[in-house]
Amino acid sequence: MSRAEIAIVGAAETTQMGKVPHLSQTGLHADAALNALADCGLTVKDIDGIATGGHDAAEIAQYLGITPTWLDGTSVGGCSFIAHVRHAAAAIKAGLCTTVLITHGESGRSNLRNHRPIFPSQHQQDFESIYGALFPPSRFTLPVMRKMKDDGLTLEQIASVAVVQREWAAFHPRATARDPLTVDDVLSAKMIAWPFTKLMCCLVSDGGGALILTSAERAKDFPTKPVYLRGMGGESAEGPMVSQMEDFTTSRAFRVSGKKAFDAAGITHSDVDHLMIYDAFAHLPIYGLEDLGFVKKGEGGAFIAEGHTRPGGKLPLNTNGGGLSYMHSGMYGMYALQEGVRQMRGVSPAQVKDAKLSVVHGVGGMFSASATAVLTSEDRW
């Protein structure tokens, strides 16, 4: 029998999401942080560790009035916050700090900020951007034609990801896009970067979220139901040049991070009640299902198209609607974590009945980095 060591005791998103023209990016961080503190009844004076990505962690500390003894500014794109959970857990275990605040804020839509959230890569700029591959829709999508040829993935299967996730989004009052979709709607939407239409690409939103972590032994002192980490999770990186991926049909970073997380948690796939796979574009849940080992390579598209991940299916996936329908600020990983926490607390508007274990898997950059967390409602296993 293992006992949980680390718990998430506070979790919240920004008061508003989608279009938030009255808050700067720094302000979105703070709004999320204050909401998470209120969620667990702490104040900034109780926080001694701070982590954020795409933004200077020291700025957030100063803006909120926090004097940290531990900082993490890992910024590898949207999965950074999932990596922060892992790093924070290690820091708390090592006694470097006791109570960590992880914040995310991003003015992705209103652009009330003066910097981009991810470090530019020298090689990416000089050997990829010069070919007009400047934005995620023409970079993240590049491997997919190869996967379609080699693994038999179809356009209809990719479109079905957006359709199924819209079904989940319909449960969430805070989701941006809630109207039902059909595969034909997705395939006939405006072309962005063949074979990707607009409805296969994520939303562009303003918003933020924050988490508060501490040791599991303190977890029952808080007003909300604790959510425990099962194992320390996983992380990896392959690098920011999508053209240099080892294999266009599978993500090495996904495989390494996922295996690390599953091994650390001591779980098998049948233990997983609820799954979040970061979906900046519709192909990512397909890669994720395969690379995490839920299905065999080449079977991810059919698995989703057959309905196994939709409401009532055997593997509820992206139950907030994901980056395609819920919101996507630019670094979406925080929102995947928030839905994982809601599911483990039993309070998601799309609650999976009796769910006790949630895997939250994220991508950073364009298949550049990855991080995976295993959350559970149980304090021993």
């Binding site: 010069i130 591959a133 970079r139 190869r146 053209s243 240099q244």
Partner: protein
């Protein structure tokens, strides 16, 4: 319309851009691994050896994957093709496919390609076109 982007030249990549300007696609080859690699760096990404040489690539490649970009990009008229091509020597690189419609009907994976060079100010960048005369 704004100009297409120019790469920044660093000491480690100068040979590559000098080569492109002279109409040559340059790679590096690790002596211990006997293997070509890309993008440029003064050591082998496989084994870390600094025993590497600069070699000229044949310019023959095949189409590994692509997207047809419909979004604006500086100097480009959408739609245009962003591709990953596999060089005959092994490495893969991002590029554009030119002298070929930006149309899925004209872009078949694994089709043979050959390098050509596109002038950008006082520089040139390698791009690829369908190979003349069949298989690469």
């Amino acid at each position: 319309m704004s100009q297409k982007l120019q790469p920044t030249v660093y000491p480690e990549t100068r040979f590559y851009w000098d080569g492109a300007k002279a109409g040559k696609l340059m790679l590096q080859r690790c002596t211990p691994c006997d293997r070509a690699y890309f993008p440029p760096r003064p050591f082998c990404p496989e084994c870390g050896s600094r025993d590497v040489t600069v070699v000229q690539a044949s310019g023959r490649a095949t189409l590994h994957s692509y997207v047809i970009n419909h979004m604006p990009a500086p100097g480009y008229e959408p739609p245009f093709t962003v591709a990953a091509v596999t060089l005959e020597e092994g490495p893969r690189m991002m590029t554009n496919i030119v002298d070929c419609p930006a149309d899925p009907a004209a872009l078949t994976l694994d089709m043979p390609l050959e390098v050509t060079f596109e002038t950008r100010g006082d520089m040139a960048v390698p791009v690829f076109r369908p190979a003349k005369g069949g298989a690469a």
